[in-house]
């Protein structure tokens, strides 16, 4: 008989647990309503006659209610600023890496032209060098601009 009761109790608690988890944000009244809906009057009848399950339900509900009231700590502005500063450092190092790649490519191109191409033979050659230099300065400015923006953040 005891064994039969134990089985009933554990089954009722299983159902109550499911209801509690599915309605974690609802009130005790909702829980009672759900109890009626899910397993009809069987669970309610068992609860009326079983002190242990009544206790179990009350304790579990109180514990879950209390968990929702556990204090939540606010985050200080200092921590926020620290996170954003670290992000800015990462961004800046990314930009630096990119600018090094551009510099390396420019130097490689310069050496190639100097060693293998007769670029200074005519006025057009010198003109093309000036255009090339202008492009490099433009690229440099383009890279520097987002870096400044990221430092502001």
């Amino acid at each position: 008989m005891d064994e039969l009761n134990e089985t009933k109790c554990s089954r009722v608690r299983e159902i109550l647990t499911e209801i509690l988890d599915d309605t974690a944000d609802s009130t005790r009244n909702n829980l009672e309503n759900c109890t009626q809906e899910v397993d009809g009057e069987r669970v309610s009848m068992h609860l009326q006659s079983c002190d242990r399950c009544q206790n179990w339900q009350a304790q579990t509900e109180e514990m879950v209610d209390m968990a929702r009231l556990l204090p939540q700590f606010d985050v200080s502005e200092r921590l926020t600023q620290s996170i954003l500063a670290q992000v800015a450092v990462v961004e800046s190092s990314k930009q630096q890496q990119l600018s090094w790649i551009v510099y390396a490519a420019a130097v490689a191109l310069f050496l190639y032209v100097m060693l293998f191409v007769d670029a200074f033979e005519s006025v057009w050659g010198i003109g093309s060098w000036i255009v090339g230099l202008g492009t490099m300065i433009g690229l440099k400015l383009l890279i520097a601009e987002p870096r400044k923006e990221s430092q502001v953040v």
Binding site: P71, L84, A88
Partner: protein, 221 residues
């Protein structure tokens, strides 16, 4: 007299212009905070760090509190919160935009915390740390539960939570303190929904036992 009048008009114009700018910036700030995570992620990936700042401000409290409940130390929680956002920022280019940002971020936070706890515990393996905690499995307290009057305080629950195995504690906090749905907890923990339910069940039963024992002791003293 005329000069001072002109000055006043100019000042008025300037102050109106400044007010307009402040209003605009306020409107911009409120506009950007209303933007969905996915859009902010997209903007951050395109180089807009203001968008990432909004994400940081949106989730830093949640991340901090989850980490704090896991590690129970404010300094470590601050360090790990910072570490979480930095890792997220670096990993953002590889983030799958079809998925939600919040569970992804919380996965980074909880995994970093678990790794730190494992490092702190030294030789203890993560599996041991997650499941074996002698304090979390007290002797059967069925009889105690009947006799003890249940008046649980926040302080008692906080202490009892600290005695749970870390995985159970994390799941309990995510579900009941932070009110996250099962699906999100499953995604964060890389578990199935049924495993999450089973972890929650164990967490609640263990907590009830620990609390009953604590209440019995305090009522006997």
């Amino acid at each position: 007299m005329l000069g001072s009048g002109t000055m006043w008009v100019k000042r008025k114009k300037i102050s109106l212009w400044t007010m307009g700018n402040v209003e605009n910036s306020k409107r911009n700030a409120s506009d950007i905070t209303a933007i969905a995570d996915a859009e902010l992620v997209g903007k951050t990936r395109a180089g807009d760090n203001k968008a990432f700042e909004v994400l940081v401000r949106r989730y830093q409290k949640l991340v901090y509190n989850i980490i704090y409940q896991m590690i129970r130390n404010h300094d470590s929680a601050s360090d790990l919160t910072q570490d979480t956002f930095l890792k997220a920022y670096k990993a953002l280019p590889g983030f799958d935009t079809t998925k939600s940002f919040k569970p992804w971020l919380l996965k980074i936070a909880t995994n970093s915390t678990l790794n730190t706890i494992r490092d702190q515990k030294g030789q203890q393996s993560l599996e041991e740390l997650l499941e074996v905690n002698p304090q979390a499995e007290p002797a059967s307290t069925e009889d105690v539960e009947q006799e003890v009057e249940w008046r649980v305080s926040q302080h008692m629950l906080f202490d009892a939570l600290g005695q749970l195995p870390i995985q159970q504690r994390k799941t309990f906090v995510l579900r009941y303190q932070q009110d996250l749905p099962y699906e999100e907890i499953a995604e964060i923990s890389e578990l199935s929904v049924s495993s999450v339910k089973s972890l929650l069940f164990r967490a609640r039963e263990n907590l009830r036992k620990i609390l009953s024992e604590q209440l019995a002791v305090s009522q006997n003293v």
